[in-house]
């Protein structure tokens, strides 16, 4: 897992450099809007490699705004440099004061009116994208997801399929021939959070007592990363977002699996007993059992996830063991208590958890 990330990372940097150069080239030479092709997910979630319409619209707007800003910068910065080079006091200068100029109405008018025009253009460009993203209409086959932010993990509910999962969001790819956007309702169970996966969309906050929404329609399958972008307490830094964009078939398969209740087998009955005899069941749900807690992540299909604790560690046997013994060792300050179980119980529990596919 780690090593793969590293490879991604290198090729990402190269891609980024290429894109930056290309972007700059297009912006300066050919005007805005010529770039913007999907490269797929990257472990460095640059806002300049969008793979979904909202991120794409923003990307185009950003190229335009940056081109305007670059233009202004070049002009004004050259003026500054020119004036300090040209008008610095020279050794040959006499002591006389330079001509005293108090101002000029024509010049003032020019540098008031031109900026006003630029501002109007920028406003119109921004307003267009605001409207396109915020007031979008959705086709009937839109996938609905409710994302609830918790200190410090994500809960994802799929009301149409009536199941709940955590931390890893799965959505179908939305290609031109079969547009299946995902519409996400954003809620919070405690403090403010913010949902930010830069390659897919801009961030929107999850605020208690408030219903926000956003949408994505990823064009390329793969694993997109992001993280909580509004300070929410001690472990705000380890509230990572992992979005898996599946092909329509894979997505259907995943949905079918998630709808199933948890598998049970006699081999792990001991672990299940420990789970249900301890406070685990008060905080976690495992469908098909008596555990209905909602304070922590749903564990029904724990093993279908690649990481635990909102991306804080890969989902391996060792990490699960460590997590149950001492959550703070992986995520100091998280809201799951260390349960002080003995070795035998922990091992049984881990075996049980590892059976939750």
């Amino acid at each position: 897992m780690r090593s793969r990330n590293c490879e991604w990372h290198n090729s990402t940097l190269r891609n980024l450099a290429k894109r930056a150069l290309l972007g700059l080239f297009f912006v300066t030479v050919m005007g805005w809007g010529a770039t913007g092709f999907a490269l797929g997910p990257s472990s460095t979630p640059s806002i300049f490699s969008p793979d979904s319409t909202p991120a794409h619209d923003i990307y185009h707007l950003s190229l335009f705004v940056m081109a305007v800003c670059l233009g202004i910068f070049l002009v004004v910065f050259s003026l500054i440099v020119y004036s300090i080079v040209k008008y610095r006091r020279k050794a040959t200068d006499d002591d006389r004061e330079p001509p005293q100029i108090y101002g000029s109405n024509q010049v003032e008018l020019a540098w008031t009116v031109i900026p006003i025009l630029i501002v109007v253009v920028l406003f119109l460009a921004a307003a267009r994208v605001i409207h396109a993203v915020e007031d979008a209409e959705f086709p009937p086959n839109t996938i609905e997801v409710t994302a609830t932010g918790h200190q410090f993990w994500w809960e994802f509910q799929y009301p149409a399929y009536s199941f709940t999962t955590a931390n890893e969001l799965h959505v179908p790819v939305s290609d031109g021939s079969h547009p299946t956007p995902t519409h996400i309702i954003l809620l919070s169970a405690d403090t403010d959070h913010s949902f930010w996966v830069p390659q897919l969309a801009g961030k929107i906050d999850l605020i208690p007592n408030r219903r926000n929404e956003m949408w994505i329609d990823p064009k390329v399958p793969g694993h997109y990363v992001g993280q909580c972008a509004q300070y929410c307490g001690m472990q705000h830094a380890k509230m990572l977002l992992n979005v898996f964009v599946d092909t329509p078939e894979d997505f259907q398969k995943w949905v079918q699996q998630q709808k199933e209740p948890a598998t049970t087998s006699d081999q792990v009955a001991a672990g299940r007993k420990v789970f249900e005899a301890n406070a685990c069941m008060n905080c976690h749900t495992i469908t098909g059992t008596i555990s209905h807690g909602r304070f922590g992540p749903d564990l029904t299909h724990l093993m279908s996830r690649t990481t635990i604790a909102s991306g804080a560690a890969p989902n391996t046997q060792d990490n699960l063991t460590l997590w149950i013994k001492d959550p703070d060792a992986i995520k100091p300050g998280c809201l799951m208590p260390a349960m002080q179980l003995d070795e035998q119980d922990v091992n049984a529990l881990v075996a049980y958890l590892m059976s939750l596919h």
Binding site: L16, D205, H236, P332
Partner: protein
């Protein structure tokens, strides 16, 4: 250049107060003083002390972030560090510093003998000072009854409901709230005082449209204080009611509103940016003309632009809230108002360039800092334009890009402006010149450090790095940028040390300055350095915007042209 004799003879008051008096007596004099110059120096020094403390907090954070998955500080400590850093820098470094400059210079520049309300002035200073002490007392007292946490860790804008009793146990948040509440009273007093002084205490002939630019900018600053601190005070009171009396304004668990806090805070918070940056603009507008040997270009429109900035800045606050899910109309409104403020700001930049144009520029340290501040304001303004386009802000907001943007304003313009002021008015305050050689070292090291840190800080933001995270994964590709950013801090720290050394050494060893070492034009240079008690023996009569120019060039006075 230096004039040996003050142009207007000073009021001779026997100076038996200084000299070989016992330390306790001197200390007593300073503590009970109501003199605007002493209070100005006290405000300024207090601010510099806070700047150093806040800077140390920032350096620890940068050390933590220099490499991925670092464990130098725990998440808890990191969260306290950024909360204390932000709060300290805004409320106890930047504000006292600009208040100090305004206090010292406003009466001198308009030909007055003191501020309008000297006692209120002292009261304001001590309120601000106590506010800071209360905030830092949280390190000792924040454990409270519950033993939870010490320094506050809610962030400098302390979004609800993190501050509600459910999420913030113990008293650390209370120290934050009460500290700001009290220092806010002090700020309101200062705002009122500056406003009244400017309106009522101007010397003979000093009409409003003859006031130096710095005085104009300080009066608009004072106006903004009067408008903006109120909402902050109200919000703090509501929070106190929530925390101590069972109110539910911001307690979302009981139906309160997290968004209302944001509105209150940013209705204060955005004008606050201008409260800090306008005085810096004022400094640039004094320093640039003197070292270009030309009057400020377009005085009238500069004043108009200032007033425009003051008003527009009251209608842009929700650009801090583009991501809270406002309707498309609300978002569009705040895009419009926020971009509109670029126009008067742009006018200012153009006029500074216009002032230098055709001049004979001498690059003293003061001028170097001012010119750099102009260029940096240009960049900060442009990244501001990027952030003002709401959809672009959905990506950039709360990322390191925003951090880079506002540090560009606060360091690149405000702190550069303050350094410029420090070199420019040091001779007036102490009677001695600062070393220009050390000054140049200070400038260049600080410039390099500043650009290493804050230019490169934009990039991780573009690559998806949110603010306020105590660590990040190596796979994100943010490490290289963060390392560069952190290294820049070393240069800045070194530069500040050189400055402190320079200021201390020059105080004892610097060349005697005389009353007017820069051959300047505003009234403060007409009296001796340091100015005597009550500033002027006889109030100088002003006939133009540059009274000293008129005196020095009787054949070609300004008032013929204005």
């Amino acid at each position: 250049m230096a004039e040996a004799q003050p142009i207007v003879p000073p009021l001779v008051i026997p100076q038996e107060r200084e000299g070989s008096r016992p330390f306790v007596q001197v200390l007593h004099d300073w503590i009970v003083t109501v003199d605007h110059k002493r209070l100005g120096i006290m405000y300024f020094s207090y601010g510099i002390l806070a700047l150093v403390i806040g800077g140390i907090e920032a350096s620890i954070m940068r050390a933590q972030l220099a490499v991925a998955n670092n464990n130098l500080v725990s998440p808890e400590v990191f969260n306290q560090l950024f909360t204390m850093h932000g709060t300290t820098m805004i409320f106890f470094a930047a504000m006292p510093i600009v208040f100090g400059i305004a206090n010292y210079l406003t009466p001198l520049m308009i030909g007055a003998r003191d501020m309008a309300f000297p006692r209120l002035n002292a009261w304001g200073f001590w309120m601000t000072a106590f506010g800071g002490i209360i905030l830092y007392f949280s390190f000792v007292g924040g454990f409270g009854l519950y033993g939870a946490g010490s320094a506050p860790d809610v962030g400098w804008f302390a979004y609800a409901p993190l501050t509600s009793p459910a999420f913030s146990v113990g008293h650390s948040t209370d120290y934050w709230t009460i500290g700001l509440l009290i220092s806010g009273f002090g700020s309101i007093a200062t705002g009122l005082n500056i406003m009244t002084t400017v309106l009522c205490m101007r010397g003979p002939g000093m009409k409003l449209n003859r006031m130096p630019m710095l005085v104009w900018l300080n009066s608009v600053m004072a106006f903004l204080i009067l408008v903006a601190i109120g909402p902050l005070t109200a919000a703090q009171l509501m929070l106190l009611i929530d925390r101590f009396l069972g109110g539910h304004f911001f307690d979302t668990q009981a139906g309160g509103s997290a968004v209302i806090w944001m509105h209150f805070f940013w209705i204060f918070g955005h004008p606050e940016v201008y409260i800090l940056v306008l005085p810096a603009f004022g400094i640039l507008s004094e320093v640039i003309p003197v070292f270009s040997r030309k009057p400020i270009f377009g005085y009238n429109i500069m004043v108009a632009a200032t007033v425009a900035i003051g008003f527009i800045s009251l209608s842009v606050w929700a650009h801090h809230m583009f991501t809270v899910g406002m309707t498309s109309y609300a978002n569009a409104f705040f895009v419009a108002s926020t971009s509109a403020i670029a126009v008067p700001t742009g006018i200012k930049i153009f006029n500074w360039v216009g002032t230098m144009w055709g001049g004979k520029i001498t690059f003293t340290t003061a001028m170097l800092f001012s010119v750099a501040a102009v260029a940096q304001m240009l960049i900060a303004g442009l990244t501001g334009i990027m952030l003002a386009a709401a959809p672009f802000d959905w990506q950039l907001g709360n990322s390191y890009f925003v951090i880079a943007h506002f540090h560009y304003v606060i360091l690149g313009v405000i702190v550069f402006g303050v350094f410029s002021a420090a070199y420019y008015w040091y001779p007036k305050v102490t009677g001695r010149m600062m070393s220009e050689t050390l000054g140049k070292w200070h400038f260049w090291l600080f410039l390099i450090g500043f650009h290493m840190t804050f230019d490169f800080m934009h990039i991780p933001g573009l690559l998806g790095m949110p603010r306020r995270i105590y660590t990040y994964e190596a796979s994100r590709g943010w490490q290289t940028w963060n390392t560069i950013v952190s290294i820049g801090v070393i240069f800045q720290a070194l530069a500040v040390l050189i400055w402190v050394f320079n200021a201390t050494k020059s105080y004892f060893r610097g060349k005697i300055a005389g009353s007017d070492p820069w051959d300047a034009w505003t009234l403060e240079w007409s009296t001796s350095s340091p100015p005597p008690d009550y500033n002027f023996a006889e109030l100088p009569v002003v006939r133009s915007r540059r009274p000293l120019w008129d005196l020095k060039h009787p054949e070609d006075p300004d008032w013929k042209y204005e």
